[in-house]
Symmetry: C2
Subunit: 288 residues, 2 copies
């Protein structure tokens, strides 16, 4: 795509996602400049020296006032604060997007915070790694993964189209539009719940002494238990109602299975397993 070839893009937050964004853009998209803002000068320097970004600035006003697109790759509330603090610094007509794991609050507040000539579209890549920080960033982590964007009827259609084109160009498999509310409801189940269960597994008192009796199922279920504490406590806090509902549902399901085991109801157990097997097989076909 050529639409972005005259663009200056500023990435705010050069961690795992921001660094991966910078690398994927450098690799796949013709733009004028990629700039970055971060508190971590080492990451900025490393990205600059290796040619991933073209420059970085002490004063964020300078890149922002010249950026056609700004990608916020910080914690959700940090992204909101950044938009508030830089209300007057964004370029006229700038496209601003974020990558954080909750969307309802961000999208609702971004419009209140930004000037009306700026366009905000919320986004969230279904990509990641169990490590954090620029040093683990990788332009290829987006390959084959989906990207959720949350525009609404007030969103500028051209801006939505442009964002989608850019995201496809840098490697995402599918860009899906949904409402912020739908995103937050589903993400509580598909991502926040597995992270909580992983942490619960690790923190169990049964963990000690179990070392030699761990196989693949234990390794996989606990993979994401090495978690960014600050980020995830914020994500859960900001998606409270949805995650509480999911946790309630899991407790109910565990109680049901406990009753089946307790009452020697092997037939019901088989039905549970048959159903999960069928769905998991279908999920594999879906991916193919």
């Amino acid at each position: 795509m050529d639409k972005a070839c005259g663009f200056n893009i500023t990435i705010v937050g050069l961690g795992l996602i921001g660094g991966s964004m910078a690398k994927a853009i450098r690799e796949n998209l013709k733009v004028k400049n990629i700039w970055a803002v971060d508190l971590d000068r080492d990451a900025l320097k490393e990205a600059h020296e290796s040619g991933i970004i073209d420059d970085f600035f002490e004063d964020e006003k300078i890149p922002l006032s010249n950026s056609d697109m700004v990608i916020l790759c910080t914690y959700p509330n940090t992204a909101l604060d950044f938009m508030k603090n830089n209300r007057d610094n964004f370029k006229h007509g700038a496209l601003i997007t974020d990558t954080s794991g909750i969307k309802e609050k961000i999208v609702a507040e971004a419009r209140n915070v930004l000037r009306s000539d700026c366009e905000f579209i919320g986004g969230h890549p279904m990509s990641g790694k169990e490590s954090m920080g620029y040093k683990y960033s990788d332009g290829n982590i987006f390959q084959g993964t989906n990207y959720i964007i949350t525009p609404d009827e007030k969103s500028n259609k051209e801006a939505v189209l442009l964002l989608k084109e850019i995201l496809y160009t840098i490697g995402f498999k599918k860009i899906i539009e949904m409402s912020p509310e739908e995103h937050d409801r589903i993400i509580a189940y598909t991502s926040q719940l597995p992270h909580i269960l992983a942490c619960i597994m690790m923190n169990s008192k049964s963990f000690q002494g179990s070392r030699d009796v761990r196989g693949g199922s234990f390794r996989d279920i606990t993979r994401v238990a090495d978690i960014n504490c600050e980020l995830w406590s914020e994500l859960l806090h900001e998606n409270k109602q949805n995650i509480l509902e999911e946790l309630e549902a899991v407790m109910k399901d565990i109680k049901n299975i406990s009753s089946m085991i307790d009452s020697d109801d092997v037939d019901s157990l088989k039905t549970v397993f048959k159903n999960s097997s069928m769905l998991r097989k279908e999920m594999n076909y879906e991916r193919a």
Copy 2:
């Protein structure tokens, strides 16, 4: 090792584990004959034609009466029935072992069932795959994984040593001795619990419509939800008390985390995540 070079070994149940055992033995161990018993003639024929097994028999008496070692790779209760039904068919002094996921019941009943000149040692490989059947068997799935054996003070020391040597030779990383009770208590946590949680995740009413919002954490936590229904309902049924305790503990932990989220207690959430992160990191070091 040369101790087994005059051995006839019979594998009972040529599925994923039995087939993988046959292949790993063929590849790594010099023995006189590898024989197999199974109801699935197709698997037997395929294994025979490809030279993995030397022969198979309609009448199990023939291989058993000439086998120095018998490896039972069936469901737990099938293994017990097989030992009962073939009490008089085993060779004098035969070493009999199993590979099933519960040990207390098997070990306790095996001694009652077998003749006193036969030696039973329970075993359980910490290896597996999310698929079942001979066609998925693979002699390499044991590489780098642990094997639990559950001998006790009555066990013949030479037989224990021989079994360990064979298991190391066919690729296991570490052979660990523990009591059947300890095995069953730990396996409820490290294996049975992750399998149940995987199935609960898949069977959730939130699953429908979540397709595009699934990333790596969802894929990993649900990997083992495609489960052998018959086997797993038997395993849970036979390890009832241990798995009920683990499920109870998880429900309590979910309740705790729910309360933290509900009461906006972000500090406690951070503590939970810090702890899980630290333990998960240590687990990676352990494996290195």
